[in-house]
Amino acid sequence: MLTISNLSVTFTQYDQGLRRKQLTVITDLDLTVQPGEVVAVVGASGSGKSLLAHAILGILPDNAQVSGTMEFHGERLTPKRCKALRGKDIALIPQSIGYLDPLMTVGRQVQRVGQLNGLSAPAARRLRDRTFTRYDLPPTASRHYPFQLSGGMARRVLVSTAVMTQAHLLIADEPTPGLHPDVVTETLNHLRELAQEGRGVILITHDIEAALQVADRVAVFYAGTTVEIADVQDFAGGNLRHPYTQALWRSLPQNDFVPVPGNQPSPENLPRGCLYGDRCSWVTEACREARPPSQFIRQGWVRCIHAER
């Protein structure tokens, strides 16, 4: 349904003097999403996860240049098409209640989403009420303002905004930061449900445990690129292909809890070769020469020339 290949996003900034600074925050990124599946996008902060969401929705700031292709339902996503699709065919589930207008009742905001999708006001209201019932939100919740909602209710309202649309693709951007484990599980289950209805879901998170709990496939981001796209089973099954993914898996508290030393390269000066090269134990001369291409190995995509071993 959604196919992204070789996506790069570069910001142009002017530094001291007339020197132009290029910040490449996304490099050669690939991602596909099928109807009915949850794809988790996992990576450290600064790896370009949120920007990916903004790029798909076409809401990047003006000084960003995008290259590569994004296709949605087989057709290219041009800025014009992005504008026509966003909120209707592609919907965002934001990370916190701060993404709702603090001065408007929750009910009106959710209803507005329906109206933006072409429903009449009464129809949008009926759909909203049905959606609220579905998510166990009391009828009075419509009249509440965002600041009056509890953490769990807020989460359900945010999911409701996406359900009001007929969107085939949902992008959940860090939907569970710092929440109570029960609320995290509940929210993830909602996302799973939406996928079962035939929608594609992109779950963007830094929390790999949450990702493994709900996703079908996991795309691992590093320094603005997808180093690996693996099935969820590959993690526990020891079938991981990229050294970074393996390191990430090992660093989980329930596993070895062992980190790899070093830092993600800064977008100001990315290395010429593999972006993970300076932290990798498998690194060879060939890795430093050129960026590794994306390969299909053992039923998964990986950007590592040593992944076969």
Binding site: S45, P177, H180, P181, S251, L252, N263
Partner: protein, 198 residues
């Protein structure tokens, strides 16, 4: 031994109690977990133990003495958001050196790049800044550390990196550690079963 006995706390005479009758203690070299959902006074309890707040009732003692009000406090606290715990107008090296000059060994282990030294806090990411915030309390005078959701906003790799360094330090210096978190597996890994529900 860091002791908190019969601790009660509220933010104002008419406000509800945030901490009610808590008693807990940490021995040198011990790692204790404190697990609870938000809104259960975990953060307040952490602030009480580190001397940021004074309990309304009860007292905190360190080896049977009250916490010193002057000089370096042997109980230190690391917050969830490093942005608030550094002066936005200071450069990184100044921030690192405020309490003590950190050992190059720890800076290296935490992956603190020498190139960061001349930058300002807003030029580092949250994960990078948190490592700076931790490096500055890795000081032999720190005998107890309260880590309040210290790595909740960080990715798994950075989380493991930070804890590895902190645990090494705790072992080498016989430092007591209280980990406040809602992450079960993290507490399981760090505290070997010593988890107190809050």
């Amino acid at each position: 031994m860091l002791n908190g006995e019969g601790l009660w706390f509220r933010y104002g005479a008419k406000l509800p109690w945030v901490v009610r009758d808590r008693t807990l203690s940490i021995a040198p070299g011990e790692v204790i977990g404190l697990m609870a959902p938000s809104g259960h006074g975990k953060t307040t309890l952490g602030k009480l133990l580190a001397g940021y707040l004074t309990p309304t009732q009860g007292q905190i003692t360190l080896d049977d003495q009250l916490l010193p009000s002057q000089g370096y406090c042997p109980v230190q606290l690391v917050f969830q958001n490093p942005e608030l715990s550094v002066n936005p107008r200071w450069r990184i090296d100044q921030i690192l050196r405020e309490g003590y000059v950190p050992r190059p060994h720890y800076l290296k282990a935490l992956g603190i790049h020498p190139g960061w030294m001349t930058r300002y806090p807003h030029e580092l990411s949250g994960g990078e800044l948190q490592r700076v915030a931790i490096a500055r309390i890795l000081n032999p005078n720190t005998r107890y550390l309260i880590a309040d959701e210290m790595t909740a906003m960080l990715d798994a790799n950075t989380q493991a990196l930070i804890w590895q360094v902190v645990l090494d330090f705790a072992r080498d210096h016989n430092m007591g550690l209280m980990v406040i978190s809602h992450d079960k597996s993290l507490l399981g890994q760090l505290c070997q079963g010593q988890v107190i529900p809050c």
